[in-house]
């Protein structure tokens, strides 16, 4: 058995997948997207199944489009990648399916964004529609700060940074009694990892020191999370709606559980470390089942 894996580099995640494949006698053809090129009339990837692990969203999306064109089974698909890689499309997809997600607005100029924020209310969160790891995500505490951020983006931002995706800020729930007695902090959000129609692992993430964001890749504290039936149901439903096969879902607890974002090339080093689950191995198992079909 053999599958291909497209990536920018061999990070911890890719190495764990390679090690797992080796232990299961599965070959992996590594395709570095920096070296990859394609004659658009002639396929040059030898395996049917391709795991897309590109950190670069744009490269990954277009390579997936090419591979899809040639009939490969790419995980995740072009459709899933396109939706999950774009916060506006993710929100629209979730809303259409009736899946709880933070209230969001979208505007295209500084003036209309300020009007949108007046309706949405402060505090609010501004995010680039395409982006990850908390980059250029800002907490707009009031109109003055919003004006400053928007002005900066109007002057210095590229085309995508001038699409103003604005989201309500979700306040964390109060601590429950157990957390109170243990003096635990309430986690900012949860990262839930799904493979197929199964929740494989989940962790709570806390805000970075001196920051309001909780990006694990940037060093946010994480802890294993008990997967409740509610979290499981929400995660699987959201994964199905975006037709994702291997996903990292960001779920928040406000007045209800809601899906904030969905990651189609999810990191899982922190998750594996927090939970002790061999996520790389589970991914390979899933790919092996697909190869058998």
């Amino acid at each position: 058995m053999e599958f291909s894996m497209v990536c920018n580099k061999l990070s911890w995640e890719e190495k764990s997948i390679i090690d797992a494949a080796k232990s299961k006698d599965v070959k992996v053809k590594i395709i570095l997207n920096s070296n990859y090129f394609a004659n658009l009339e002639k396929d040059n990837v030898p395996t049917e199944i391709v795991l897309q692990r590109s950190l670069s969203f744009v490269r990954g999306l277009y390579i997936t489009a090419i591979l899809d064109h040639f009939g490969h089974t790419v995980i995740n698909s072009y459709k899933t990648s396109d939706i999950c890689g774009n916060k506006l499309l993710t929100t629209l997809t979730l809303l259409k399916a009736g899946i709880p997600t933070p209230k969001a607005y979208c505007a295209f100029t500084e003036e209309s964004a300020l009007e949108a924020l007046n309706e949405l209310g402060y505090p609010a969160v501004i995010k680039p529609v395409i982006g990850s790891w908390g980059r250029m995500v800002a907490l707009l505490k009031d109109q003055d700060f919003a004006k400053a951020i928007l002005e900066e983006r109007e002057v210095m931002g590229d085309v995508f940074q001038k699409i103003y995706y604005l989201q309500e800020y979700i306040f964390k729930p109060p601590r429950n009694m157990k957390q109170y007695l243990r003096r635990d902090k309430v986690s900012r959000d949860f990262r839930v990892f799904t493979i197929g129609d199964e929740v494989v692992a989940a962790m709570g993430r806390h805000e970075l020191e001196g920051d309001w964001r909780s990006t694990a890749t940037r060093g946010a504290r994480t802890e294993s999370l008990h997967i409740t039936p509610e979290i499981e149901e929400l995660a699987i439903k959201a994964a199905k709606v975006v037709e994702g096969e291997i996903l990292g879902l960001d779920i928040m607890e406000g007045e209800e559980l809601m899906v904030n974002e969905i990651n189609h090339v999810s990191g899982f080093q922190a998750l594996a470390s927090s939970t002790g689950i061999d996520i790389g191995g589970r991914i390979v198992d899933y790919l092996m089942e697909k190869m058998k079909k």
């Binding site: 580099k9 190495k15 790891w133 990292g248």
Partner: protein, 57 residues
């Protein structure tokens, strides 16, 4: 396996089972380096790609 940092020319040893595409750190200047070729027990390195604005999950 021998390797030489293309930035500071520091020569150092890396694991024999290193793979193409793997990112390692120069033992002297600390820069991130990508393994782009392996020839006769010598790893060829180049400066690893920096995080771009569309990188992530």
């Amino acid at each position: 396996m021998k390797a030489t940092c293309p930035e500071c020319y520091f020569e150092f040893e890396i694991d024999d089972d290193v793979m193409l595409g793997e990112v390692i750190e120069c033992g002297d200047c600390g820069i991130e380096l990508e393994v782009i070729n392996i020839q006769e027990n010598v790893a060829v390195l180049q400066k690893a790609e920096s995080e771009e604005e569309d990188w992530g999950e």
